[in-house]
């Protein structure tokens, strides 16, 4: 039982930190989540991490619900709820506080500077997320080809990304990999 509560506490600490560090949304903290859950705590394998991420991407809801899936894998349904709470409570509390004082900052120059400073970091972090996920997912020529095809479909066409995911899953079901 004390093992369980150790895991719960660790989940709480990791994801509360991720919540406050999520510059530009949940996908920006994927490298940190990977580092903590796969490298540091070794709760799951690299491969499982990338598959859970994909499963979350293929489901409806905001990106952040990926952490519920991660928490569930590590510590069951209580883990999912706890992880989700840890990931949402700190940042939402800040948003709530901001909502109460919102009008004061609408045109503040520092707001515009911070915004301009955060955008390039967010892009760098999401690029790092893509690297982490691709490294874990692409272990053969066939999977690299799928990643390339999915990229092409999502980048150059306006069809829903869901179609790319469905095609990739279907090819996998047919035993291409």
């Amino acid at each position: 039982m004390s093992d369980d509560s150790d895991v719960y506490l660790a989940l709480l600490a990791i994801f509360a930190a991720c919540s406050l560090l999520a510059v530009g949304g949940a996908n920006a903290v994927v490298p940190e989540m990977h580092r903590q859950t796969v490298d540091v705590h070794q709760w799951l394998s690299d491969r499982t991490f990338s598959e859970l991420f994909a499963l979350a991407q293929a489901s409806p809801g905001p990106n952040v619900v990926f952490v519920a899936l991660l928490g569930h894998y590590v510590a069951g349904a209580p883990g999912a709820l706890l992880t989700m709470f840890a990931m949402c409570a700190p940042s939402c509390t800040i948003a709530y506080g901001m909502a109460r004082v919102i009008d004061r900052f609408k045109e503040a120059p520092w707001r515009i500077v911070i915004e301009a400073a955060l955008v390039p970091m967010t892009i760098g972090l999401i690029a790092a997320s893509a690297l982490v996920v691709a490294r874990a997912a692409d272990r053969s020529a066939a999977t690299v080809a799928i990643t390339a095809a999915s990229f092409a479909l999502c980048y150059w066409t306006r069809i829903t990304p869901l179609l790319a995911l469905a095609l990739a899953a279907a090819l996998g079901l047919m035993g291409v990999f």
């Binding site: 990106n63 952040v64 948003a95 709530y96 500077v113 967010t122 691709a134 999977t143 995911l165």
Partner: protein, 200 residues
């Protein structure tokens, strides 16, 4: 759920509809509205939130929507989560905040628990193994495309100091695997200084 995040400095998009907005929603309407956004959230929660909040339900004008969104983007955490909290507060106070957030993350969280149970139970079946391998490879391509689009909107033909910030963030977080707090402590002050200097 794959979400193409628009960069924070995206130009204000003008809407076709110039109709007046309706009264702000009650907590019950907020819960349902944000649950609908979450349920439609295949292929971009942000796009759907705009469509539902601005075009369908007309709770906000396009200008108000962009303004609120811009503020959400400088706060930590998911943009749409912050948006639900702030918009919910504006419409119905603390209760409104909670109702909007609960609608947005409640149902998808339950769905994820279900998906997690199925993955734990059937994820290692040989017949399904290939499906997960394919899905993961596809999701990687989707994420790379998201990054490429974000880079594309910021580059616009010429390189700026901000791109060094993007590169430095990518190298430290992605290649060197620094813990995120280090990355932020190392890169953020430089990025803020650059943004301030560029703005003068």
């Amino acid at each position: 759920m794959p979400e193409l995040q628009e960069p924070a400095l995206s130009p204000a998009s003008s809407s076709t509809a110039a109709e007046p907005r309706r009264p702000l929603p009650s907590p019950g309407e907020l819960f349902l509205g944000f649950a609908q956004i979450a349920a439609c959230g295949f292929g971009g929660v942000m796009a759907w939130s705009r469509r539902i909040i601005v075009e369908d339900r007309r709770w906000l004008t396009p200008e108000e929507f962009n303004q609120q969104l811009a503020l959400c983007q400088i706060l930590p955490g998911g943009n749409i989560l912050n948006f639900s909290v702030m918009f919910g507060y504006r419409a119905g106070g603390t209760l409104g905040s909670l109702a909007a957030l609960a609608g947005l993350i409640g149902p998808p969280t339950l769905l994820m628990i279900l998906a997690g149970m199925l993955y734990r139970r059937f994820g290692d079946l040989p017949a399904l193994r290939g499906m997960f391998v394919g899905l993961a490879a596809g999701a990687a391509g989707l994420l790379i495309a998201t990054v490429a689009k974000m880079v594309g909107t910021t580059v616009k033909g010429r390189l700026r100091p901000a791109h060094l910030i993007t590169a430095a963030t990518f190298v430290t977080a992605g290649l060197l695997r620094w813990p995120l707090p280090w990355v932020i402590v190392a890169v953020m002050p430089v990025s803020i200084a650059l943004a301030w200097w560029e703005r003068r």
